[in-house]
């Protein structure tokens, strides 16, 4: 398994969170849009939260390179695993 799920996961949240925050930032003076959510700028706040979550996931996924660690072979590398 070459790809850690946390990297694409992080990327998706980084991008969508980023887009939402930017959009929220641009439209922050626009009361008409946020009347729906009772005056709370959901785009900005939730976008920022998603951005941070994505960043954490991305960094953890990048840093934790257990796949390449020869000291602790994963079960499928031991050769004893049930393969078909």
């Amino acid at each position: 398994m070459g790809l850690d799920i946390r990297i694409p996961l992080g990327l998706i949240f980084l991008i969508t969170g980023g887009m939402m925050s930017v959009y929220g930032l641009i439209t922050r003076g626009n009361a008409a849009i946020y009347e729906k959510s009772m005056g709370i700028n959901l785009n900005l706040t939730w976008g920022a939260i998603m951005f941070v979550f994505g960043l954490i996931m991305f960094l953890v996924g990048r840093r934790k390179k257990w796949q390449d660690d020869p000291v602790d072979p994963r079960p499928w590398e031991r050769g004893a695993g049930p393969r078909h």
Binding site: M1, I5, P8, F13, T16, G24, K36, M38, H84
Partner: protein
């Protein structure tokens, strides 16, 4: 801002192709970490039936719907993790029907494989149908595609996307996508619940507006006529809590497949337990919006009067599950005439399936609305993908390899798996067009489950824990259990329903207060018949040698080695923690 939601799907699509590292199409090489499998485990189950169906039931029946999670899933998930997973994973079976062949015989496996294949096609069809209907109702593609084609285009489009990523990456791709979808769903619905609760004044606000049987999960359970589900507690605990939920979580290859992809037996056992934790809190994400939707009264533009009527305008008494305000739930419209659908008493029928989509449109401003809708679509996709991967595995291993071509090369079976994916998707599209007769998607699905899944659990239970069970016993039991389910469904009918799809197509000998009650009791009957027949036939036939059953039956299998694990790493510890949390939640909302 729809551009942006298409963009998200586009990213998903690009990643899907990038994830084609799977060396094993069907089992993801048994190499996925436990937490990833755990999330995929619930996400595969979190299809349309969950999000739309649970939101709908939340709006229709109240917090009592959480029983589907707290009674109807968690105990079974704990059980499968602690007791059953060692057999599935340890026996090296590649699918649930294959385990049946190892434990019993060929014919039992054939029955299971065929019925399962049909069921996955239907589930995936339901998912597709719901998605297309939703897209059509919300007018998402309004102006892009002519209105009369929207339904068809959505079905084909979703089919093609799911087909694309499974075709390329097999189970790994499906699992990865399910994890992404899980996080998207949480990210999309969490702010909805938060803003919705703020709007109606929190949980206390909901309690003030709604009748008390909507906000307590156990109230009125003593008798069918005093709770909104129309089920008494015996039916609920036995039908849903025991037969249906154990039948689903313990024997459905759709979910078991995710756990079987885990990288070791300990991981595989942890998968359902890890999955149980988020599962426990999912009611807050999917049922609460339904409750909020009926609580919201006149926040903005369209003022809704929250009439709290027990009598319909024309004097007929309303059924119990209609005695509450309807908030922003729209009335059901007839797709052909464009007029509101009325029931036999002339009352408007409310389209509960729209509870969550309407909430999204009601509270989310442009921008985050795209996220919310993406989350919704993600949930459909994950449900569909789960069914399709399970279908292609069962088809290839248990039907094609077993009966059609026994001596193909591995490459040939891989090719067959891909073809099965295509075939599965095409059949699902057919099923999507077939499923149109029910108001509440959940009911339709429960019907399929109670006929196919309910008797199954008895077979597994006896097979795993009673070494005397024989192949002939299991087979006759399974067949008569399914027959009993059909017969029961044909002989009974919920009140207020016409004979046909809802039951009563043979003769009507009994009336149930609701669809749910009928489903639960169908399951109970099927289970009991299977149990009794299997035991009787097993005692009459010759058992297999004990040496052949090592690793397949509980009493003949060495206990899983746990000595190297510290106490907090053991699956049992996790199981106890999960159950403790469950009890606390039940007490809070009792």
């Amino acid at each position: 801002m729809l551009v942006y939601f298409v963009f998200v799907l586009g990213i998903g699509f690009a990643l899907k192709r990038y994830m084609r590292t799977s060396n094993d199409f069907f089992l993801a090489g048994r190499s996925i970490p436990a937490w990833v499998c755990g999330l995929a485990f619930i996400s595969a189950n979190l299809g349309a039936q969950e999000v739309i169906g649970m939101g709908a039931s939340g709006a229709k029946y109240g917090i009592i719907t959480s029983q589907f999670y707290w009674i109807g899933a968690i105990p079974a998930m704990v059980f499968v993790g602690v007791f059953m997973m060692p057999f599935y994973y340890g026996s090296k079976a590649r699918s649930v029907p294959e385990y049946l062949r190892m434990r019993f015989d060929e014919k039992t496996r054939a029955v299971n494989a065929f019925s399962f294949a049909v069921m996955t096609i239907f589930s995936s069809g339901i998912s597709m149908y719901a998605m297309a209907l939703l897209i059509q109702t919300l007018g998402l593609f309004h102006g892009i595609i002519p209105d009369q084609y929207v339904f068809h285009v959505s079905i084909i489009l979703s089919a093609v996307i799911v087909l694309g990523y499974i075709f390329l990456g097999g189970l790994t791709s499906a699992i990865y996508n399910e994890v992404l979808q899980f996080f998207l769903i949480v990210a999309g619905f969490a702010p909805l619940v938060w803003i919705g609760l703020r709007n109606v004044g929190g949980w206390e606000g909901i309690k003030r507006t709604l009748p008390s049987n909507m906000t307590h999960s156990w109230q009125g359970m003593a008798h069918a006529s005093t709770n909104t589900l129309g089920v008494e507690w015996v039916g609920l605990a036995m039908g849903l809590g025991f037969v249906l939920s154990f039948g689903y979580w313990c024997t459905d290859f759709l979910v078991i497949q995710r756990a079987m992809a885990a990288d070791s037996e300990v991981s595989a056992r942890r998968v359902p337990l890890i999955a149980a934790i988020p599962k426990m809190f999912f009611p807050f994400l999917v049922i609460l919006p339904g409750l909020i939707a009926i609580t919201v009264t006149s926040h903005m533009a369209t003022p809704h009067t929250a009439v709290f009527a027990t009598k319909a305008p024309n004097g007929h008494a309303l059924p119990l599950d209609e005695q509450h305000p309807h908030g922003i739930i729209p009335e059901k419209m007839d797709a052909i005439t464009g007029k509101p659908v009325l029931d036999t008493n002339g009352n408007p029928v409310y389209n509960y399936d729209l509870a969550i989509p309407v909430m999204l449109l009601h509270f989310f401003p442009t921008g985050i609305l795209g996220l919310g809708l993406t989350a919704l679509l993600a949930s459909f996709m994950s449900g569909m993908a789960g069914n399709v991967t399970a279908f292609n595995t069962v088809w290839t291993y248990d039907i094609y390899q077993a009966y059609i071509n026994k001596k193909g090369t591995d490459a040939h079976y891989l090719w067959m798996g891909r073809m099965a994916t295509v075939g599965g998707v095409v059949l699902s599209v057919g099923a999507a067009y077939a499923v149109t007769n029910f108001n509440n998607i959940m009911d339709a699905l429960q019907l399929v489950f109670s006929i196919v899944n309910a008797p199954l659990f008895a077979t597994f239970l006896l097979g795993m824990f009673w070494k005397r069970t024989t192949g002939h016993g299991a087979f006759t039991g399974l067949v008569s259990g399914t027959a009993a389910a059909l017969l029961h469904h044909g002989l009974t009918i919920p009140t207020d329903a016409l004979p046909g799809m809802h039951g009563g197509w043979i003769a009507i000998v009994h009336h149930y207060p609701s669809d749910m009650a009928q489903n639960f009791w169908t399951a109970i009957f099927a289970f009991s018949v299977n149990l009794i027949v299997t035991v009787v036939v097993s005692l009459a036939t010759k058992p297999r040698e004990e040496t052949e059953l090592v690793g397949l039956v509980y009493s003949l299998t060495p206990k899983p080695e746990e000595g190297h694990l510290t106490w907090y790493q053991k699956p049992a510890t996790l199981a106890v923690a999960v159950l403790a949390m469950l009890v606390v939640l039940n007490l809070v909302f009792a």
